[in-house]
């Protein structure tokens, strides 16, 4: 009985998995590391046709071709970097969700860090300016005027 239940649950899971995957093929891997690399690679590449879908999530024909190529290159023993290069050579930097760090992208990666640094400098300068202003001692004249104001307040 328990066996039947387990089997039926497994069957249900299989079919629901198939329904969610839609037009996207299921690939079998003997090696879990290879499978993880395949998943990460196909999730990190943008479908050139559908603009904001990763190729592991898109049923465009070109995405199927790209997944197939990633799979083939993995089987051929290529490294992740080689596979990414292979794709970028054909489809351009556009397909990378994470642009690589190179001359062209220093501004892209550097700008957020630069802006945070500017913000920190501004805050530090403002805090210091404010502290200096409040620490400044009053002149005798100012002190007398302040006393007068306080006394007037009290007497009224």
């Amino acid at each position: 009985m328990a066996l039947v239940r387990t089997l039926s649950v497994l069957l249900l899971l299989m079919f629901s998995g198939g329904a969610i995957a839609g037009g996207i093929e299921v690939r079998e891997f003997d090696d879990p590391v290879m499978e993880k690399r395949y998943r990460d690679l196909t999730a990190s590449m943008r479908c050139p046709l559908c603009e904001n879908q990763a190729i592991d999530d898109s049923d465009a024909p070109i995405s199927a071709d790209m997944r197939e190529r990633v799979y083939q290159l993995l089987q051929d023993g290529q490294s992740d970097i080689e596979i990414v290069d292979h794709m970028v050579q054909r489809f351009g930097d556009y397909i990378l969700y994470n642009p690589r760090l190179e001359n062209r992208t220093y501004l892209l990666w550097g700008l957020p860090i630069g802006l945070v640094l500017v913000g920190v400098i501004v805050v530090v300068l403002m805090v210091r300016a404010r502290r200096n202003a409040s620490a400044k001692a009053l002149t005798a004249e100012e002190r007398a005027r302040l006393d007068a104001l306080i006394n007037r307040e009290r007497s009224s």
Partner: protein, 175 residues
């Protein structure tokens, strides 16, 4: 003084970054250059659409400036751009087609119905050559110079304006 300068720098910087990002918003993300620009046409080996026994390779595209058009019978924009391609062929420009993800039967049917501006058609039923070219849809048009180097790329439908304003000047430039 430095403080005033700093306070001025903030809005200026903000406006600068905002303008930079704003002009990016208006750009069409599908309007991007081919990754193969200024690179050699990829090596390939394929049969031709008309003759399964005839093999061609990348040397087909050297010796003369050639327009390579990727098309398929299943692609509506390919039909619409045929008059423009026929006009380009009439002007004496060498045209080579890549019959992309199609069958021989349907490809030949297409040519007899819409005209054949191509000197030869490379048969690419699985899209293998298309993949090497970074093609992700049809039609796409590449300009290959006499040395077999890709010099210009047009994604999608070629309108009569595209012919006048982009393709003819590019052909002249590389001839």
């Amino acid at each position: 003084m430095t403080r005033r300068l700093l306070l001025l720098l903030l809005p200026v910087g903000f406006i600068g970054i905002a303008l930079f990002l704003y002009q990016g918003l208006g750009r069409n993300p599908s309007d991007r250059d081919s990754a193969l620009m200024a690179r050699e046409f990829p090596a390939f080996e394929a049969s031709t659409l008309r003759d399964a026994n005839r093999q061609v390779d990348q040397t087909l595209l050297t010796g003369e400036v050639t327009l390579v058009n990727v098309w398929g019978e299943w692609c509506p924009a390919c039909k619409q751009e045929m008059p423009q391609l026929l006009e380009l062929a009439d002007r004496g420009i060498r045209m080579v087609g890549i019959n992309y993800r199609d069958t021989r039967e349907k490809g030949l049917e297409f040519l007899s119905e819409f005209g054949d501006p191509f000197e030869i058609n490379i048969f690419d039923p699985e899209g293998d050559l298309g993949f090497e070219l970074g093609v992700y849809g049809a039609p796409e048009t590449f300009l290959v110079d006499a040395d077999g180097v890709i010099r210009y790329h047009h994604k999608g439908y070629v309108s009569p304006e595209d012919v006048r304003e982009h393709i003819l000047p590019e052909v002249e430039k590389w001839r």
